[in-house]
Symmetry: C2
Subunit: 395 residues, 2 copies
């Protein structure tokens, strides 16, 4: 039930640098930790990658589950390294460092590379004990995670199916609402952003997904791509719905955005929708191995600039127009490698990424259209099966 991580780039780095091992000290909410260990736990545990294997150091409470579930060659309890006695003698944090040092020594490790977010308290503690600690600056594990296995792609696709069910719930609520004095009304009550988000989230729960945040944002509020939205939804205005659920079992995300309007949002809004849809289709068609994320971003910018709107490329200080990147990788994190932005490097088969251009301005509102795709050997496969339509339909 886990990705089989190909850690060879990490081992090549260790060998080239003459470093004995790579160590992660984090809980399972750290996606590098979850990916490398094939395990997740609410409290920090330590994962050590050496040329010989992957080794975990966990609390007694997690030992049974880690032994059964983790992608590890060995799992050790802290108690095996006198953790309780060390804590009693030296305090909780120095005790933890000394147990970790004993675990490293047990695996013949005197020098470790660590991720950038490795705790400074642990790093300084190990250094004080004579262990060499070097920050691995490139994010090698993040790089490995960018290329998904078939198993991972299936997990992401499953999250996207749940996502589509939730989007259909939201679209149907909007499509079937009555309009009273310009406000959408459902079941006699104003249809608010909050109500739609709640129904989205209940639908996701019924499909095994959780999420903390959903965007259902109407009118001028939609001009801020990070505004989550609040209050009644209104007719004749743009409504942006952006859903990014996480499968509770696998931890993999989906990501999907659609923009709707009941009634007539006006000619300028319709034009922006049409331009955004063209930018989205052009960017999608540009996705293939060997093309850079930057080049895909340029394709979206070209369409939007040609239509007369600003982008961050045409004006780095603009606060209206296309004011974010075209996309990002999706996996155990909602934002991960690769980037579909001016900084985006070459796309490779197995990369999973969003394509989500948009156009924003307070007087008109926001438009954004987003699909989730996987790069294939000769192009891309769209993991999204949701129609694109400004007019909401009860499906």
């Amino acid at each position: 039930m886990n990705v089989e991580a190909d850690l060879s780039p990490l081992r090549a780095f260790l060998e080239s640098e003459g470093i004995d091992g790579y160590c992660i000290d984090a809980d399972g909410s750290d996606s590098d930790q979850r990916y490398v260990s094939g395990f997740t736990a609410p409290d920090p545990y330590q994962t050590l990658v050496t040329d010989e294997g992957v080794h975990l150091l966990v609390s007694g409470l997690e030992y049974g589950r880690a032994s059964a579930d983790a992608n590890a060659d060995s799992v050790s309890r802290r108690a095996a390294y006198d953790y309780q006695a060390l804590v009693a003698e030296h305090g909780r944090h120095e005790g933890k460092v000394r147990a970790l040092e004993a675990f490293l020594t047990d695996h013949g490790v005197e020098s470790v590379a660590v991720p950038r977010n490795f705790p400074t308290g642990t790093a300084d503690g190990l250094r004080d004990r004579g262990v060499s600690v070097t920050v691995e600056p490139e994010g090698i594990v993040e790089g490995i995670r960018a290329t998904k296995t078939e198993w991972e792609i299936d997990r992401i696709a499953a999250s996207q199916r749940a996502n589509e069910a939730a989007m259909a719930t939201a679209e149907e609520l909007i499509a079937s609402a009555d309009i009273d004095d310009g406000v959408l009304v459902h079941g006699g009550e104003p249809l608010t952003s909050e109500r739609v988000k709640e129904e989205i989230e209940v639908t996701l729960l019924r499909h095994g997904c959780g999420l903390d945040e959903t965007i259902v944002v109407c009118g001028a509020d939609g001009a801020d791509p990070h505004d989550r939205g609040s209050g009644p939804l209104r007719a004749n205005e743009l409504i942006v719905i952006d859903i990014f659920p996480r499968d509770k079992e696998s931890g993999y995300f989906g990501d999907l955005t659609r923009t709707f309007a009941r009634g007539d949002p006006g000619e300028e809004a319709r034009r922006r929708y049409e331009v955004t849809e063209r930018a989205y289709r052009a960017a999608l068609e540009a996705v293939e191995p060997g093309v850079t994320g930057a080049a895909v971003h340029d394709v979206a910018c070209d369409v939007i600039e040609d239509a007369g709107y600003e982008t961050l490329r045409s004006d780095p200080s603009t606060e209206t127009g296309f004011i974010h990147s075209t996309g990002h990788g999706v996996g155990l994190d909602i934002h991960e490698e690769p980037s579909v932005s001016p900084a985006g490097g070459e796309l490779e088969p197995g990369h999973v990424l969003t394509i989500e251009p948009g156009i924003y301005e307070p007087t008109v509102g926001g438009v954004r259209i987003e699909d989730l795709v996987v790069v294939t050997e000769d192009g891309y496969e769209n993991l999204t099966e949701y129609p694109v339509s400004l007019e909401p339909v009860a499906r």
Copy 2:
């Protein structure tokens, strides 16, 4: 809409150590970051505490929201410190470090204390630039967070109300189930752990709370306090339900456990329930300012050992009996200070903590009863209003 954090212990530490500021580099999922900044964001940002104020360094995307929402004396955009140019010249991570260094310099800060989990990449980068970085070993912010304001207690109580609604949903499902061949059946389908968890989580969503994990565990599986449970619930066996929701708006948790049985779980299970309930009531009555968490834990151990069961106090290697601590603090983290365990220090007014003794063994299953309380000037106030009863009732 925020706690007004009393950072004076942190400032006293800085002054006594002759350090210019305290710096956090984390996203809003880090509770120290959320607490000190009064802000939360999905990507890392930096918070600096000096003797003059609290200063935030955020991306342009978060600037508007941070300026409106944060508990900060000043909010700066990275762009104000040439972030993009520094990234273009030095790469993303070195660019980030240099922008942070410029921000520190701007506030007259040449030395910082940092939390133990501060990223080693940032710490080493700042040190390379001549900034002194010292790990603050005691967890001063965690210590400050342990004592809740009235505002925080109200938030936690609100999460506990949602929690009780979810527990009532679960209890009612179990109480009203039919029994077919020893298995609980509801609506013609076996009543599984998964179904009950889903209804709990939907109820929590309807009350504005989210959560990733819920425990609904039956029979022998319940002997492992960390087993989340799966499969059909059975009559005549102990069913442990442990719910720890987080309010989506405030970020504060609740925590509640009850144990139920349909039919007759047997004399030994009933005895364990009765002993656990006595331990729970005795531990509750021991809670008052000036008493240590260790002393409260001892009270629970006394009751359980006197009844003839092992505890980790009577046998540190036992895998049955009372095999965890009596409780833990609850706030922005589900596990935080203070500890109600052998390591637990003095309780103080405003501490919010769980009391949750339990007795476990595979042949009998698990029993646990848990309330959430706040320490008051002369004792405690129970933030939990849920009845204690082994027999489930449709309320």
